[in-house]
Symmetry: C2
Subunit: 421 residues, 2 copies
């Protein structure tokens, strides 16, 4: 892992993974096939890609019951408590319709309406995370989305993991389908016999899922295209090297492409963290993932001042930021770009990954410059309301007509003047 | 124009214009050229596509001054007043950072931060609308975006229209560049010698601009891909056929692909509006555009009840909706999908297009099902804040570690347990 001094921030070149032309073409073909052949195409791809021959896509109540039986009661309680915490935090994000009346009697406003429907993609295999089910579904639920559909690729046994099914049930999802990949995205966007089309698709996936989401964008809404996960730790000499190292490794174990970065004003801490990481790696079950992640994408930057350190953090625009300094809360105001900010030593990133309440679906790969955590606004839309009064119309009608004529739009001007007689 | 009875809503098939493969390939080549060759590529494309040989892209103060001189003072005053109205409405949308403390001393919150930079695309030619400059720039301004860049293709004379320049200056844009098409989108996304890259690109454009925005999406944020403009009028027997027809034509004159639809419970009104449209078309300067628009995309639907009429409107999910009925405001609560709702006869659509304050950049082509008018939220992003207390950590740490182990993420569990000693 590189250790470097920073003196003038970082200049980072990033690019979204746009896939190869071959991958793009495969995805387009799959989408077209699903549009043409519906469920039949879904069954065929599920057999081909997931090795599962299914005759029905929808998860049954029996499967849900079996999933509950497979988890211990304590774990089910923890998932329920996490769901409640997530609901509590997201309820604070929810906004209401507002209207106001101007002095001239005109009424303006903004109407908030939940989406009719949303589809959540849950990846398969080792990345089938119950916590991601909660984090994607609860904001939609809180927004008031009427119909929430979940899709996830089955294992070779034609089943979904028990934790995923229990989390979906606790989150209140009624429609769970065993289908993944680009074919699942196509089904959510355009509908098949089994799966009714939705208005928005969220949730992470592999490159085929990401390309499919990009392809259907516009016909339906999507969330951001997710990239590999990142953490940056902002620490001074008061931080514990052991804790910093453990937190960096919790990111690194996700993916060899994940990145864990420390920015610190303390050279001794920098050295100690590097040693700690090596030591902790030696006993980590997923060291085969975490080790290359740290080697290729890990970094420790030493800054002369906290100001320089904060600037470096803003250049990184990390998905997760931990502030492990004296008076940690004071630095929050200086952070411009970060998906989630974890303040102080009791806010290790997993606190937010699983349990505290704020969302763990966060902008990756520097997109915190312009994107937000998944939130209730993502599942509601606005409509403007304009009720002009006669007084306002009489006062401003001629100006509006003049503006229309400046733009050469005579019918606009005449629509105003049609009211004059 | 077709006149039809509706009895069970409408089922509308829509698709975004994804362009031809040739167009997509042209756009990819242009983007790559701009990334490789910067300004030089911009000059070359501007000469090729716009017929203007430029040596500098940036609009000068002299050009701004000449633009003011070219408009009459009354018009400049109207543009200023419109800008103020837009600023007033959008200020009501602006939200602030919030934090709260739980009973266990944990602090959670959501930080709101304006984007560092935004780029506004303004189409050229007859679609170079000063009102669109205001509508795109003012929400960014209100959000507090630090750097707002505007791009627009010049005419053959190497200039931008006076109205566009004056509107940009009134809106406070400092950086205006004479470049359009896919090359302008590439410059905004990746930067050149003259144009520094931005974080988000908004504004409508032709198919090449739309494809370029789709291509750079992810590296920067974009607004929705705009389609042709639409109006739907919901009217009962109290509406004036003359006013309804005038409003429908104000939409139809935009584009032969624009659509104007009336949904009414009154068969006499339906017939009268059809006649009025013919009559008003006969004297309309842009009849060559409005006439095919009405013929191909215009429609009048007659519904037996207001309930059925409202259902039909929700199926259409129009960009603009006018409610011209008795007790018009009462129906607003029943409208689920519409970009902007114009209530009552004094709220002819041009009132909102130019002057009242709410945004005229609205979701088209049925995307009001999941999209919103351009608004201040589009130029701000959220960061979650999590400051867990020792009490919360002691109480919940073990549950969090258990959840992590359910997902097979041992380093996550250990990050929690590193705090235990």
């Amino acid at each position: 892992m590189k250790i470097e001094k920073v003196t003038a921030g970082l200049s980072i070149k990033r690019s979204v993974d746009a896939g190869t032309e071959e991958q793009q073409s495969i995805v387009r073909d799959i989408i077209q096939d699903v549009r043409n052949n519906g469920d039949q195409a879904l069954f065929a791809y599920t057999e081909k890609f997931d090795g599962a021959k299914l005759y029905s896509l929808k998860v049954t109540q029996d499967e849900i019951n079996e999933a509950y039986a497979a988890l211990d009661d304590q774990m089910i309680k923890i998932i329920r408590e996490a769901a409640d915490n997530i609901a509590d935090f997201h309820a604070k994000q929810k906004r209401e319709t507002w209207l106001y009346t101007n002095a001239d009697g005109s009424i303006f406003g903004q109407k908030l309406t939940p989406l009719d429907s949303a589809g959540v993609y849950v990846p398969g295999g080792t990345a089938a995370y119950p916590s991601s089910v909660l984090m994607n579904v609860m904001p939609a639920k809180t927004a008031g989305v009427g119909r929430i559909v979940m899709v996830s690729p089955p294992g070779k046994d034609g089943r979904l993991p028990a934790g995923v099914l229990v989390a979906a049930d606790i989150a209140g999802v009624k429609d769970i389908f065993k289908v993944g990949g680009a074919q699942a995205v196509a089904a959510l966007a355009y509908g098949t016999e089994s799966i009714k089309a939705v208005d928005k698709i969220t949730g992470p996936g592999n490159i085929f899922v990401a390309l499919a989401k990009r392809e259907v964008f516009g016909d339906v809404d999507i969330d951001m295209i997710a990239g590999p996960s990142e953490i940056a730790v902002l620490a001074d000499e008061t931080a514990s090297a052991k804790e910093v190292a453990a937190d960096m490794l919790s990111q690194a174990e996700h993916d060899t492409r994940a990145s864990a970065v420390l920015v610190t004003t303390s050279e001794p801490l920098a050295k100690e963290v590097a040693l700690e990481i090596e030591q902790q790696l030696s006993t980590l079950p997923r060291a085969d993932i975490a080790r290359p992640s740290i080697a290729q994408h890990g970094a420790i930057y030493i800054a002369a001042t906290m100001k320089e350190a904060v600037r470096t953090i803003n250049d990184i625009a990390p998905e997760h930021l931990e502030i492990l300094t004296e008076n940690a809360l004071e630095y929050v105001k200086d952070i411009k770009h970060a998906g989630a900010i974890f303040v102080g030593r009791y806010s290790s990133e997993p606190v937010g990954d699983y349990f505290a309440g704020p969302n763990h679906v966060l902008p990756t790969n520097g997109t915190a410059r312009f994107s937000s955590p998944l939130n209730v606004d993502d599942f509601m839309k606005k409509s403007s309301i304009i009720m002009y009064s006669k007084e306002a119309f009489d006062k401003h009608g001629a100006k509006i007509a003049a503006f229309a004529r400046l733009e050469g739009l005579e019918a606009h001007a005449r629509a105003i003047e049609a009211r004059n007689e």
